[in-house]
Symmetry: D2
Subunit: 382 residues, 4 copies
């Protein structure tokens, strides 16, 4: 019988739904030693919390995360609440000896992320950050291609994460889904929300970034408040962020992210060019990896559109049959399966808090560079 792993989830927003779904679904599709038990969901608004818990099958609710952490029946704390709450909850959970899973970005800045990392490491508790896009099968296949040595000497890495949902100047500040526009709650704008994903994937595929120069922009400088449209407030988060960098392996990097690219919905792309081969991915076509192999016969060279839905592809033997796609939610289920396998094998699944700390340090450097206009070297040492 599978061992129960009793989960306490903080937050019932969009990520609360995605994580809940993962807990419900993982054991039907993956053979695992552990079976997550949806023990308790936690949030301040009790009525909404109840409805959420009922819908998803959480056994109990708490309105104070401290009580959740105090409960001896909880094995793992999953933090899905806004960014400015991550640190305090994680530190308390680690102190209580609980495993900690945390939504990305890990923290409001690198200093906070470092304290969180030290806390979970000193407490020796399993820890994990939900950079779910690593578990898109096509991105996992890109990683496999790199690991197999097919790329050769790397020259270029580039990534875009473009959306268009905040273009309208009429979009208000505040509200359930709009905390992402408030720097006090989100820490940053697209840099923490989107660029963090791009950096996490980039360093997973291409190793550490060593220096950066960045820039940010706020296109709509003030917006009406959602709760009181007669009032406006200055927008403090970055609407767009782009940076150039060097990787430790000698390759050049170029990153761009925005919520002002009309027509781009979830355009999260990556491309790695090496001496022997290249890979390209676009999240708007999530089931494909584009691959170019210089080793192909001369007149038959071309970018291959790999339909990453075969049994031989990462994660796909756990799902349906070849040719059948999975969707956005499955990246969370795959992530959870990997985290649980890490518990089985004793080899922690990445990204851990430490991996996410590194991403946060790059983000810090990008934002500092955006302020100063200069290149910044990144120091990953503790």
């Amino acid at each position: 019988m599978a061992k129960p792993l009793r989960i306490g989830l903080v937050g019932y927003g969009f990520m609360g739904r995605a994580h809940s779904n993962a807990y419900r679904q993982v054991n039907q599709f993956f053979e695992l030693e552990h079976r997550p038990v949806m023990a308790a969901a936690c949030a301040r608004n009790e009525a909404k919390l109840k409805a959420f818990a009922d819908n998803w099958g959480w056994e109990s609710t708490e309105t104070d995360w401290r009580r959740l952490i105090d409960r001896p029946d909880i094995d793992a704390i999953d933090i899905g609440s806004p960014n400015n709450t991550h640190s305090e909850i994680a530190l308390a959970a680690a102190a209580a000896g609980k495993m900690v899973l945390c939504e990305k970005p890990l923290a409001m800045d690198g200093a906070e992320a470092r304290r969180m990392t030290q806390a979970v490491e000193q407490a020796s508790v399993p820890n994990f950050v939900w950079f779910n896009y690593r578990r898109v099968p096509a991105i996992a296949l890109a990683r496999q291609v790199v690991q197999e040595g097919r790329i050769g000497r790397p020259f270029h890495y580039r990534a875009q994460y473009l959306q268009d949902w905040t273009i309208s100047p009429d979009l208000p500040l505040g509200g359930a889904t709009l905390w992402r526009l408030d720097a006090d709650v989100a820490g940053s704008g697209v840099s923490g929300d989107l660029v963090a994903h791009s950096i996490d994937t980039a360093m997973w595929l291409n190793g550490p970034i060593t220096s950066v120069t960045g820039m940010t922009e706020i296109f709509v400088k003030e917006r009406a408040l959602q709760d009181d449209p007669s009032q406006t407030k200055a927008v403090t988060i970055d609407d767009a962020c782009q940076f150039m960098c060097r990787f430790g392996n000698g390759s050049l990097g170029l990153f761009e992210s925005t919520r002002y690219a009309r027509g781009r919905k979830n355009y999260n792309t990556l491309e790695l060019n090496g001496e022997k081969a290249s890979v390209y991915f676009d999240l708007e076509d999530p089931h494909r990896l584009q691959y170019y192999d210089h080793g192909d016969v001369g007149h038959l060279h071309g970018w291959r559109g790999i339909h990453v839905t075969g049994f031989e592809h990462p994660y796909m033997k756990n799902w349906w049959v070849p040719g059948c796609t999975i969707g956005y939610e499955h990246t969370f289920i795959n992530s959870l399966a990997d985290f649980l396998k890490g518990l089985e094998t004793g080899v922690p699944s990445a990204p851990t808090f430490r991996d996410a700390l590194h991403t946060q340090l790059v983000l810090d450097a990008v934002l500092e560079s955006a302020r100063t206009g200069s290149w910044i070297d990144i120091d990953y040492a503790d």
Copy 2:
């Protein structure tokens, strides 16, 4: 509180999994009056059935479908077993006054489909056939485009359903997944398995097909038996099937299906060309609808790749956020949600058994034409 709807499922194969998943997931994502209860799963192999039921959370098991139908606590029978079992189970379920959901193709031929249709209609029980691809959001959007009158006078409809998984002559006959190659069990080859989907979608979008001329082919004429590889058996199902037709609305049709198209995995395409606009869809890019509108400004005419992931698109407001895709399994969940809404509203959701009967009559005509080499008119009258 949602009304329980107690389900008895027959079959634990690939479709058994897909349906089970739908029952588990539908109420988290759709607001519905009914809540399916996974009351009983039924199959002959008790050990495998137990494992299946445990994995998916079926409350009980039965090894004889007659006993399942006899159970007064079961409201609806869902038939996911091989094609040659559909009729007997459906007739018995209807006679017992149960709702009947049935996998496609509905029957082994039109005559059988007609008896099944008459049975459910005479018993006045809700009935539904899992032609799940109608619930791909992009295909549902194509239907919406047609309903909105955007196509104008239709000229051409074409559909392909191409796969490549049976090319190897070493693939044996028989076994759990290979009953699809056995005419006694499957009724037909690609015609029932793949062409049936194409016809169902075609007639939903473009109305009835009135006459056909078809051809079929068996490329690998005999295969070893899976259970005893020293023996071979003649392959009796069609490896490939293609036909030309006329629709009642005056447009021409062209259909092709095969499991011998190297490189095509789940290449289920459709295209409808009308005087004012065209639509194109390919299941290998399931989240896109291609749309061409002659009403666009002259120099800006072009095929639009609609990323069917917005809140304004069919089914998508029930899932995640714009830009986030759903996958294969969601077509079953969407289908189930529609069936349940049909119960609520009293307007049965299509395709009913009668709709599926019409598809079966077209298939019969295609196969007869393939034998005789002549055009066949189709008579839909009872």
Copy 3:
């Protein structure tokens, strides 16, 4: 020094322009023994002919093609006039011992094509038909892939040639560019204009078609006359034509052509599926060949988009540098270069009149089948 080859061109329409351009350009890009000399252009309308000849640099003009053929300074007659004139001119040119190049389709029907073929063969004059799409580099690469044995046992061939320029019922009958809608002049509609291309390419890549069943349709049954819009005339050519067939090598074929596919401009596609590999081409992306190779490493299988612009690709070393595309007109220049190389080597370049005769015989069978509703076997014997 290159040997002059003195050309007499009949017709100054669209094909007259395309051929003239080929004569002007071929020697700058191909090293050839012969240099075409634009000796004389011929047409009935003297004023328009003069302007045409001036523009393109034809040395002289003739208003009667019989005089052109009589001229001893002319080595080759190039027939670019409407279809119903091809036969008489070709027979006379052959009788006069001239080489004959002829636009496609070769003739009004198979019987006429047979007489023309016998004439050029009995006269032993070089002969050539401008099925220019064979010389799209990507299609030539598809042929090379076949010749290299990469496809394996062929299963399926399919081709579409879809356009949308005659949809408007207001388009009149007659006029310079609209003779294509007049059966007396064009012989047939899309079948001769478009399907002929598809068949020529198909048989070049996949061998002879042995039996067919076809259908045609006229969507707009009558149209106003261009010269007198108060009068209408019945449309006699086929607006759309589709057929199914069997090839001599055991594969199945499916062909479709229309001028009523809204949004398709020059959508001339082909796909060949074999046991080992597949190729796909679409003339709306003329510089790409899609290629799928089952021999690729398992997890890296995918359709390769080959950008057919490298020095290693057919014809491309004669043009610019890798990555730089050529266009529509170059298919004529490449064709001419091949014809001239055939003169050099003594190995006639295909398609000859005999090749084009075979295409005409398939067309005849398709049209007969469309009338009778039955399958027709094709007899290529003289």
Copy 4:
């Protein structure tokens, strides 16, 4: 009758061919007051020059460009020789009162470009720079979309120009085609060769760039000499160049160029995102413009792939028929036609020397920034 415009061309390399072809072809396709006469070709290597002149039909040859300029029968000097020769020839031609057409990049740096610009302006001679990609019909259509006001407030502009032809470390330095790797001759690497194109197009579509921060890299630091492979020499040109910028209109820019992007052949892309619409272009699909219009009906939003081959599209009515593509060489013919129309109308066709000077000033700033690591403001004032 068309007025003769007697051309003297300097250089017989790749650009010499492209320009020669343009002179030969322009009058067959465009109605123009002027008819270029291929009066004289000029280069130092007399034997090669003769062969070139014979092939293309140049009436005479010169081995000293000073003599060419001295010839009173020459109206226009066309400079197609390596970058380090442009200035001296252009200054002399202007002093002699000749029109000057010059290949891009205009000069070795901004200072040189400024002297050349002042020279042609003071001499009041027509002047033109062959930034041929402006005359890709799809890019011209992008410009038209901008001019029509369809984009709205611009937020982002990004451009890539990626190739892969210098990856091999075995590629030697020097030789006819490899002067591009020698800084003394080329001035710079990808920045002058590729980025110059990207900047020219960007400022044409989106207005002036006001500040930049850039970086460059040399991946292969030394290479063998082509003439003496036993010797190696340091590579001095940039293998890769990328920069971030701000435009005067408030939008952000991101540019990247390299010859080390495995699989990218002529991947010259641009994207402009505005409040109301976006455009995207990729030179590897030269006949398409991608266009997204926020004004479309909500559920039918999508990127349109405009097949820029209709009579209503820029330049296309001069070529063949809708659906038929043109190629690389036609961008030069279209450029020449525009230059000649500028002579007719008295409104000089862009890009003039002054336009190209502005591009050079941006390039200078990018390269300076790459050295200093700081942002540089650009001053366009004389």
